[in-house]
Symmetry: D2
Subunit: 285 residues, 4 copies
Amino acid sequence: MSDVNAILLLSCADRKGIVAKISDFIFRHNGNIVHADQHTSKKDKLFFIRIEWELNGFALNREEISAAFAPLAKHFKMKWDLHFTDYTPRMAIFVSRHLHCLHDLILRRHMGELAVNVEAVISNHNDARDLVEQFGLKFFHFPITTGNKRQQEIKELRLLREMNIDLVVLARYMQVLSGKFLDHYPNKIINIHHSFLPAFAGGNPYQQAYNRGVKIIGATGHYVTEQLDEGPIIAQDVIKISHRDAIADIQTKSKDLERIVLARALRLHLENRILVYGSKTIVFE
Amino acid sequence: MSDVNAILLLSCADRKGIVAKISDFIFRHNGNIVHADQHTSKKDKLFFIRIEWELNGFALNREEISAAFAPLAKHFKMKWDLHFTDYTPRMAIFVSRHLHCLHDLILRRHMGELAVNVEAVISNHNDARDLVEQFGLKFFHFPITTGNKRQQEIKELRLLREMNIDLVVLARYMQVLSGKFLDHYPNKIINIHHSFLPAFAGGNPYQQAYNRGVKIIGATGHYVTEQLDEGPIIAQDVIKISHRDAIADIQTKSKDLERIVLARALRLHLENRILVYGSKTIVFE
Amino acid sequence: MSDVNAILLLSCADRKGIVAKISDFIFRHNGNIVHADQHTSKKDKLFFIRIEWELNGFALNREEISAAFAPLAKHFKMKWDLHFTDYTPRMAIFVSRHLHCLHDLILRRHMGELAVNVEAVISNHNDARDLVEQFGLKFFHFPITTGNKRQQEIKELRLLREMNIDLVVLARYMQVLSGKFLDHYPNKIINIHHSFLPAFAGGNPYQQAYNRGVKIIGATGHYVTEQLDEGPIIAQDVIKISHRDAIADIQTKSKDLERIVLARALRLHLENRILVYGSKTIVFE
Amino acid sequence: MSDVNAILLLSCADRKGIVAKISDFIFRHNGNIVHADQHTSKKDKLFFIRIEWELNGFALNREEISAAFAPLAKHFKMKWDLHFTDYTPRMAIFVSRHLHCLHDLILRRHMGELAVNVEAVISNHNDARDLVEQFGLKFFHFPITTGNKRQQEIKELRLLREMNIDLVVLARYMQVLSGKFLDHYPNKIINIHHSFLPAFAGGNPYQQAYNRGVKIIGATGHYVTEQLDEGPIIAQDVIKISHRDAIADIQTKSKDLERIVLARALRLHLENRILVYGSKTIVFE
């Protein structure tokens, strides 16, 4: 347990003494805080914190921490999650025919840049199969037709459950997931949208950007909600374009952005740095 | 005339020999080209060029150039404009109560950064008067009420004509100009919009950005057309924000952007680097 | 005292319980923490924190806080500073002949963007006088020759003391200040360097950047130390350039950067967000 | 030959009529110019142009163009190169133990983003072998010791010649190539340096950046010359860091930059958009 840390992500109504009580809880059990970052929304009178401390020397076993913390959480009516830095989440990647984000995630995992296990790659097409299997990963093909969508989602969900998937990434997956599907993974499904949301929401943002003549394009990593392209935004980035950029050039530039923004959003999630708050995120970087 | 250049900005249907004919025209009259930049839209089969040459040693007087070039332009059915680098355009600035862009333009002019004469500052409020007069510039107050808008526009237009205004800049002017007004200055009115268009078009983009929880905000410099916020975009830039930024912080960050983007758009216009093409611009940087 | 906050900026050797003790101190006196951000340097085993709480309802008068906190600070051997958000620092600006940063600071102050009083503008030239006096500010001319530098510094220091200056900004001041001068304002003198330090330290960075053919230039806001251009960096920003940019263009682009970076560095200082640590800064944004 | 273009990259002393003569040459042979971009260095009185036209309908076969153009080139004492867009260059990648750039290049090639054939991957270590062979590419191991460097270079050169390599990319290759080696590939060897040159030239730029406390780090793609880290810069990009970033974080952020900057520099080279001029580049984007 030598280098493992505990991370508490919590929110509650703002009032006096919250930091004092939480830090006292950690101190009383002989914990050393290595990172603490708080945010207070004055407008909504809400308090948010991410606090990380070393388990090494901590008086409680990791199994005991939740029970010990619960009374304090109850007192302040906190919404909270406890994470440990040695847990490697189990991820499924959904993809269609544009494979650049999938490629990138596989390579980052391969190079040890992302602390996540890629348990399954799921697609409505077969294009990704060779690449996925070449890296020794599991590929599942769920073709979608106009008639079978609900049934396929049920099968996909069953597979995700069987594999104990913690986290789903939509790496340019061109199917809309139903609300029923999303309910199983609240704030656990990350999508990359190939525009600077809310600009060019909906279909074919490259074409939309070209038509409008914007001078900058972007990409957006966000949690998926039923309102398409309106989920809480985790990360965004942009790149300049000019009149010289035809749609194919816009696509090429955007693909670099999409890779980086998706990887960044995923890393923030994996490091437990995100609190969702309404349709927005608090990102403790 | 020692250091003066001529600049030709033109567009026409793409066909063979256009560059050859234009450059031959300049060469035959003993001109030295110092900058040439062309763009061909394959999709629309259109040709665009900006070509700049030294008048020093050129065989034609500046008054003779247009007539000499006209047959060639007619042959290729060109739309074209001829500019000379020693002409300093006469500009009017429209502003309401947010003065940061006005401030910035005045200072840039004062420091010699912008080759333009600020002939008039026109406002529907009196807030800017002191600053404007402090720098020895002329201030005109045209209050707008629900009933007098058309009449005030007529008076403003008369003033602009009397002052031989070439160019209007809307430096956070919160009134919508009528189509009739715009018709007098086609592609000669530059607006700064305080969002990354087309995101957050319309009113209160700071609030919209805050509500949506975007991680990046922007500003857009564009020519004004009747379709509000849909004119051809000249320049855009962005800056990162986070959950820590309240609306006042977003405003502070945005104001820096707005100054810079407006100044950049204006400079591109003053240097005759922009060709408008449908709802888009070609910017020869 | 309704909206005033107290801000504690402190550092000490890292050990358990620091956050708990500080937050308990605030909570015991009925304070409400509105912002807390900590950083732990694992490598150097050092702890840094910025913590801000409301004085409204706090049990101690602002005059009593330091004495009440001192025992805790002594126990942990803290280096600490206490600030109040209603104190407006008194600033002197040093400038030579490039006035764009001075201009910018004066305007931001004029528009209420910076919570600082510009008490004096000091220059080794007279170029800035008109502008400074036009805005009703005090201008002092201290011409520097090869022989009089030390004497002029003594006079400048006397003036700064008489005016109770808290903070000095070098807004493109082209004289090197002596170590003796700097000793009077440790981490209280901010300089803007017109390059992306450590690239192009020393003289004429525009020319250096042009000669080297870099594709991006930058500007750096930093605290001044005796080692020229090696003081702790507060803020940096960059902009793209190309082969088309002659030295004059590089200068024009850089001047926009310099304004923004200096204003950002100054704002971070004024908001008490900076802890200096060796030759580096911790910036709690 | 339907969609093939010819590209002329040339430079010469600036004088009147160059554009006219070149465009007339193309027009006389019935060529349609699709892109022309020129640059004139006023300071050095030099002229640079990139001009691209369609071979479809052009009166000369591609084998005849050079001979037909030679008299004109001789008259103006031009340095020039002629390229055709259907030629796919043959590239060798040199790499040591950091494989992220290699990975990225292989994937981009695999996805069809780069018009280049990866003929060989050469390394002084064996780390890259599995990945390279997994993608069906050829891997060559040339271990370097203190004594064998010159001999290994001779063998590497022989291999490059046998494989008709046009272009070498150093994708984080940690050996310095000798001047004799470089002489065989003038302006044909591209390196990625993991800093914003000229800042942090030499070894371990991540550590240097950390120690200096900069707020932005960068990466630089450049042609390799004998003066280490001083070759003509093709592309640079940067990313923000903060006091929170330990060296491992700086490395992670930098690796994203390095991939993108190397890919961008390579693409500009492959599209024949670069003219080298002394220690600088003209990049016709």
